[in-house]
Structures are given as structure tokens and as C-alpha cells.
Symmetry: C2
């Protein structure tokens, strides 16, 4: 698993083959996104959820999507240390994601890493992202169940609304609920959710103290309920299809970017460009032909294995 | 011309058809890129070149690629006012480019605007870009002849090196050469060019006082010489092909981005994504099929007119 996730981070050429082999094994993991501003307790909540899920006997993966900033990366690394207790548990896999070489960035790399953990048989994967930055928010929003965290006294509901994470929650949590201002934070959250145009007024707003585990069983129950209702209504399939659509476009973009950077030159592009430069073709027609010709793809021509090896 | 350039800025759906019709008319304009840090005198130099070219009887277009910042935009607008004297000259077309609606950004919009001016029969088009920002530098670098400006006393050669514009010049100019420090700036420039690994040591370093016109005939002669040598060696065709390649990739990227934003939904993407979500396909195979299926393109199927209408 670790080696395959590293291939994803590096944007390895082998990914094409790896993903073809993994595909038939996927579709079983429930992906829980946890997001919120820095300091609301995302890692602590992830940790607490992890304990509950392990107590049920479920295998759990954690993908921490760190922004590349060494500053934030450093802070998150400190939190990671708290998870060392799971290091010897074979039912747990924890990984901080970087996307150092992946041309598709977070948008392509995160779903591919999820795909690896899915194929490896993890029942639940928690994707923890800081709720800042467009790519990070998009990654969080593409989870099967999205948990948005706020904390008292941070004006977080307003901040969350500004960051664009208020709309994306399926379950809302006021963490650090033993602190002053928890009531106010919950009211503020209810208020903001009610104000949001077409907003998710029916969605639960819970309270937790993740550090002590208080309320975390309730959070897990809300996640379970969201999953069950998604299975019932078909919403879960719709969301997974949406996530796959984003992934497919990101991979296609990365293929094109390789051409743009000349990494795959010697292809049709040189001929097409010469025709455009000479006025024999135009950029749209050439782009059509480039796109149509981009799929030689030895692996894609191979029949997909339908039985796990 | 103005209406067609506006279509380019807006990323209009009509561009596909427009570009197909314009293609056979293109390939005659010499594109001169002028770049340098803010304050080195790019607009003044453009203005001075414009006078010389008009004195020869050539038709001249100017595309000023402004960063979207209203702050900088305002400053450049002031410079533009100086060009009002050309407003009634039918042999001159001056335009500040914005890329408000174009998904392909500057990389797609600028070459398309050049294509419009080329088809309209301008002999020379000057593309003026501030030498700051990756897209802006790439746009400057893709001109047929690239003029890099520095000014005395600004430590500009070092700044230019940092901004990545030192490598891209075909002709270097110390503008404001009547000021103290012009000798130093020229020496510094020669030095930096000599130090650059595989650097363009043979390329001319000229001096101008664009505000008075001093040295501008010499600059024009250097541009002519670069053009003549490019025609002789085939370098000009190679560079135009490279520019067209970037343009084709940018247009293809914009097509994909439309899919990513759901602007073209109802296409193959939904079906492909459903297959990926269900484990029946993988993102690479789906991306291949998406790219291959992206080219229905009514216009591209139409034979190109080979005779101007």
C-alpha cells in the first residue's frame, strides 16, 4: 500500500497499469472527509473516530492531505505523532499525502490514493484536509460523507462560510464542546446553515470533545446514518460517480499537461502544430485531433481482469 | 478586428468557427514581443517602434497584455493615452488584452488574438507584456522576435534573470540610455548573458532613449536582422510551430476544463465516470476514452477554405 501510494504521489508512469489492475477490486470503502479551519481538532477527531471504528473491528485508513507549506506541514506532523499508537496495528494505515510529482495535483492524486486503499480492503478511509484552499476543499467535498468541524470562540461558522466549506457538509460538528461559547457556536452554525440559499437545514449539528472521546460515538452514528440513507436514495452512487468524473478529467488534464511540457513529444502534436503555423489547420481542429489521438494507451486496450488475482 | 478580439477575450463559442475561417489567411505577420520589468519603458518603446514602422508604410498592431490587477491596469492605461495620436490612423490597431472569459487564459487567448491581427493583414504586431508572472513570460517568449528591456540603475539584469526573462531575449535593450548608469547596466547585462549556461552571448545589446526616439531605428534594424536570419535558418518556422503547439495544447486544455466544470455535461463523461465508480473501468482508460470522444466538432469536419473569401 505504501509503495503504491508513493507511485501516486510521484505521478509514476506505472500508475496507468496499476489503476487498471486495481479497478475491479474497488468500490467497497466508505470515504469520510473531515475538514475545518486549522486548530478545530481535525486530527484529534480523526484519531477518536479511528478508535471507535477499530473497536468495531473495521479496517481504517487515514489520508492526511497536507498543504505543501512546510509551516503547516510541520504543525500537522506534530499531530501525526499522536497516532503512533496505531503504528503496530495492521488494521490501520495512516499516511500524509504529498503530490510532489503528480501533474494532476491533489485533484488527481487523492482519488487515486483512495483507490489504492479501497482495493486493499479498508472498510473506512478518513480523508483529513484543512478547509483552506480550493483544491483542498474540493477534495474534502468529494468524500462519501463530509464532516465539517468548527470550534467555539473562533467565529468559525462565518469563517467556514467564507472558505466555502459550509455548503459541503453532510454532518456538522462543534468540537471542543466543553469550552465556553459552544452553545453560541452551535447557534451560529444553525443560523448560517439556515441562511445558506438552498442550504442543508436538515443536516445534523453535533457536539464532541474529541480529546476525551465524548460525543464521538454519536458522530460515528451520524456518519453511518448518512451512509445508509445514501445507499437507500442512490445519493451515494451519484456522489461516487461525481468523484470519478473529477478524477477522469484530472487524469486527462495531466496527460495534456505532459504534452504541453514536451514530456511526450514526438507525438502528433509536432505535426498538428506545424499545420497550424502554416495556416493549413486551426487550433481548434488541431486540438480535436490531438485529443482524439491521445489514446494509444497499451493498457487501455487490454481487457480488464474481472477476478482479483 | 475589435469584435473578433473581444470574442477571443470572452472565450466565445463562436471562436471554433472563426479560427477555422481565419486559418488560411494567417502566417504573414511578424510578431515582436517586448518585455521587461515595470518602469523600463515598454510602452514608450512600443510607441517609438510604431512610428518607425508607420514611416515605412507598414501596418502595425499592438497587443498590450495587461495583468488583470486593476492597479497595474490603471498604470498601463495611462501609457495607452499617449498612443491616442494613432487613433485615427487606419494602419494602426492598439488593444489592451484581457482574458475575462477565456478558460485557456493568456496562453490560449494571446495567440488567438494574434491570429486575428495576422488574418487582418498587419505586417507587424507588437505584443507588450510585463516581464512578471509565468504566463506573461511565456507569452513574451513565444513571439517571433523577443526584445528584452532593462533600464539603468534598477539592477534590472539581475531582476530579469530572476524573472526568467533573461534567457528569452533575441535582442536586448538598455532603454533610458541617457541616464547615469547606462554603461553599468549594459556591462551587467553582457556579464549576465555570458554567465547564463548556454546563454545567448551572440545576441545584440543595444541602447535606446525611446522617449526621444534615439536608437530606435537601430532596434528596428536588429529586429529585421533577427527576422531575416530566422527565415534563412528555419528558426522562424520552428518558433512559430512551437507557438502553435502551445496554443493547441491550451485550447485542448480549455475544452477539458469545460468538461471539468460541467459546462458540457451530458457527454460521455457521465457514463465513463459511472463505469469508474463501479470498478468496471479505471481513470486512465476513462480519460483515454474521454479524450478520444471529445472531438465531435462540427466545424472541424468541414473542409477548410483555401481561398480567402
Amino acid at each position: 500500500v505504501a509503495r503504491l501510494v508513493s507511485l501516486v504521489e510521484d505521478g509514476s508512469d506505472q500508475l496507468r497499469e496499476v489503476m487498471a489492475l486495481l479497478a475491479p477490486l474497488t468500490g467497497h470503502t466508505h470515504v469520510v472527509g473531515i475538514t475545518g479551519a486549522p486548530g478545530v481538532g481535525k486530527s484529534t477527531t480523526t484519531d477518536a473516530l479511528l478508535r471507535c471504528l477499530r473497536a468495531r473491528g473495521q479496517r481504517v485508513g487515514v489520508l492526511a492531505v497536507d498543504p505543501s507549506s512546510p509551516f503547516t506541514g510541520g504543525a500537522l506532523l506534530g499531530d501525526r505523532v499522536r497516532m503512533q499508537e496505531h503504528a503496530t496495528d495492521p488494521g490501520v494505515y495512516i499516511r500524509s499525502m504529498a503530490t510532489r510529482g503528480h501533474l494532476g495535483g491533489l485533484a488527481a492524486a487523492t482519488p487515486q490514493a483512495l483507490r489504492v486503499l479501497d482495493a486493499a480492503g479498508f472498510d473506512v478511509v478518513v480523508v483529513e484536509t484543512v478547509g483552506v484552499g480550493q483544491s483542498e476543499v474540493e477534495v474534502a467535498a468529494s468524500a462519501d460523507t463530509v464532516v465539517v468541524l468548527v470550534a467555539p470562540g473562533m467565529g468559525d461558522a462565518v469563517q467556514a462560510a467564507k472558505a466555502g466549506i459550509l455548503e459541503i457538509g453532510d454532518v456538522y460538528v462543534v468540537n471542543k464542546a466543553d469550552r465556553d461559547g459552544a452553545d453560541l457556536a452551535a447557534r451560529e452554525l444553525h443560523h448560517m446553515l439556515g441562511l445558506a440559499p438552498g442550504g442543508p437545514t436538515q443536516r445534523p449539528v453535533l457536539r464532541t470533545v474529541a480529546a476525551t472521546g465524548e460525543g464521538v460515538e454519536g458522530l460515528l452514528a451520524a456518519i453511518d446514518e448518512h451512509r445508509a440513507s445514501g445507499l437507500r436514495t442512490g445519493q451515494l452512487t451519484a456522489r461516487r460517480t461525481e468523484r470519478a468524473a473529477g478524477e477522469v478529467v484530472a487524469v486527462a488534464m495531466a496527460m495534456l499537461a505532459r504534452h504541453g511540457q514536451g514530456l511526450d513529444r514526438g507525438s502528433d502534436l509536432d505535426r498538428l502544430a506545424a499545420d497550424v503555423a502554416a495556416g493549413r489547420s486551426d487550433p481548434y481542429r488541431a486540438a480535436d485531433e490531438l485529443l482524439a489521438g491521445l489514446a494509444p494507451a497499451p493498457v487501455s486496450a487490454v481487457a480488464m481482469p474481472t477476478v482479483p488475482r
